[in-house]
Amino acid sequence: MIQGVGGKVIWVDLTKGKIEKRPIEKKLVEKYLLGAGYLSKVLFDSIPTGIDPLSPENVIGFATGLLTASMFPQSSRHVVAALSPLTDVWGESHAAGFWGPELKLAGYDAIFFTGASLDPVYLNINDSTVELLSADDVWGRDVFETDDILRERHGKRARLIYIGQAGENLVRFAAVMNDRDRASARSGLGAVMGSKKLKAICVRGTGRIEVADPKKYMDTMDEFYRRMLANPFTPGRAKYGTTNLVEMMQHIGRLPSYNMRQGVFDGYEKISGETITEKYLVKPRSDWCCLQRCARYTSVKEGPYKYEGGSPEYETQSALGSRCGNDNLESVLFGHHLANQYGMDTISLGGTISWAMEAWDEGLLTAEDTDGIDLSWGNHASIVKLIKMIAFREGFGDVLAEGSARAAGKIGRGTEKFVMTVKKQEIAGQEPRAQKSMGLAAVTAARGADHLYAFPVLDEAGFDDEIKERFGEEYLPEMAERLNPKYKGIMVKECEDFMVVVESLGLCKYGTQIPPEFYYEDVALAMKVHNGLEFTRGDLQIIGERIVNLNRLFNVKRGVTRADDNLPDRLTKEGAPLGPSKGEVVELDQMLDEYYLKRGWDNETGIPYASTLKRLGLVEEASGMEIPD
């Protein structure tokens, strides 16, 4: 028996309106843990190949981790996954908040939805009661309205996941929102909910979580709390969240600007976290057991961008700010608020708008294409207007709602070369010419361009001691040098393996990767005292490898090869034009060669070798596929 979990999984057939509860399978947990790993396996087995991600054949899963709702610092997280309508490959996204812990307190670890409903519905969970209810009165409403209505109906302590109008309108980068302003933003999974006419999952849980060894559990968590609070990162993170990254990224030339033409932005101080904190911060906030407290509330008191609500983090500052050449901070804050309200990923949103702005700047898009909207760099009124048009698929917004890769495919005229995506997902806020590991991480991530699947931040400011501890002294100094491609294949591989374990436990990357406070031994100890599961560091590393390889097989089944693990030419062939990383390109092939070698994947195709799959216990999963010897 596994302790510290809900113990049950809910399967909902939306076509038939049928709900089934099943016990959690211990054997599956021992091989894949919970959270991201669990969804990886169940959805690998459940989602057919050759389907439209927005068809009823897609299956969407929601899961908590083994340590979600524990007292481990930053243990609030849940994960959502399905075949992505943006990338057509593995789609996965995570969020913090209170929904995951509430689900576990209700006695459940995961929920899967198959089929599609004819009419809008939401799933209501109140401890043992699980029911599908009509969502007629909230369909068409935004995230905040939906939250107000359903919490009025089911009680203020209910916790919700939902989509806004963007998900209903099948915007390919629609987010799954929770707790009003938290987002599982990437991969367009909100559109999968929309395609199934699934508006929300409302949860109220009043149960208890039994831990395996209460005394050792309390002692361990006490120690972890002290360590987290004493970490030098903690005070600054609690004060600025991630918003103060703008100035650092500017300083190292890694702040994506003008659709990644360059990594520096003249207006960086105007959109910085220091400016947000000084002028717009209402207060910081915390999710379940979160000592990093990077979330916050901000407000604009007057003018066209007046609002009060969740604050952007670094990614949105860069996506709607520097990436669009926009130094009007109030429009960035308000744009973020609108994205939350309608339920959209701000990274793909900013990446898509900035693609259109560069095409406009190059004369390849004109007012005839854009319904007369001026897309000059930094035109913040146009940016804000487009956000609503995208969410509602109005006019030119309907083109942009497809994401930049599909939009460029439709417009043509050479606009394709300004698409800054990997596997059709917009590259996040890391100009990779200024940090090579991020370039590699973006192409190897299972869900398309992504900084979080590996989150290789140890070379960002150069954490030599942690690199020495986690990898070995022999990799220094090169591994700690952000402009040096050497050993980055090894670093990204190891970071991916650890990060998928973290995502399978329901923990945050803040506290495990940056600051690099907790590592394998710590989470293994937590699993022992909380879940009663005994894993060594080596066991967990193998599980991490297994999950990454299974994600790869999911994509290989859908045609992904090395050719798809690629960056736009701008980043690999054109030197950074300005700033501290001037002249740098991403040496992608060199890093990929090293990565594939370390992974045990074929260097030509990027497909795992049979021997690799055998070692990881994935032979059955690969049956019927062409696997290199």
């Binding site: 004060k239 100035e247 101080e269 931040v457 960002e460 400011a461 150069g462 803040y510």
Partner: protein
Amino acid sequence: MATVTVKFFATVREITGMRSMEMDAKNVRELLDKLKQQFGKPFTDVVIDPKTDELKKFFSCMVNGKRIELLSRYETELADNDAVALFPPVGGG
């Protein structure tokens, strides 16, 4: 002796009360010594590790965008118009 621009960020800026300032120093160590002198205990308490008299763990000093660990650490020579950045623990994405 070189005249350089020193840039402060986030929690370090809160102590110095300014975004940047011009200073004269021959190397990074001398620059830090002058900063300790000018901003006193609040600066030293937050930024300097008393055991090593160098920057605390995760604090970062960069000269023209390059961290000093990749140059000559605290003995890194400074030249006129160099930009020296002093970061508190910050990173991520």
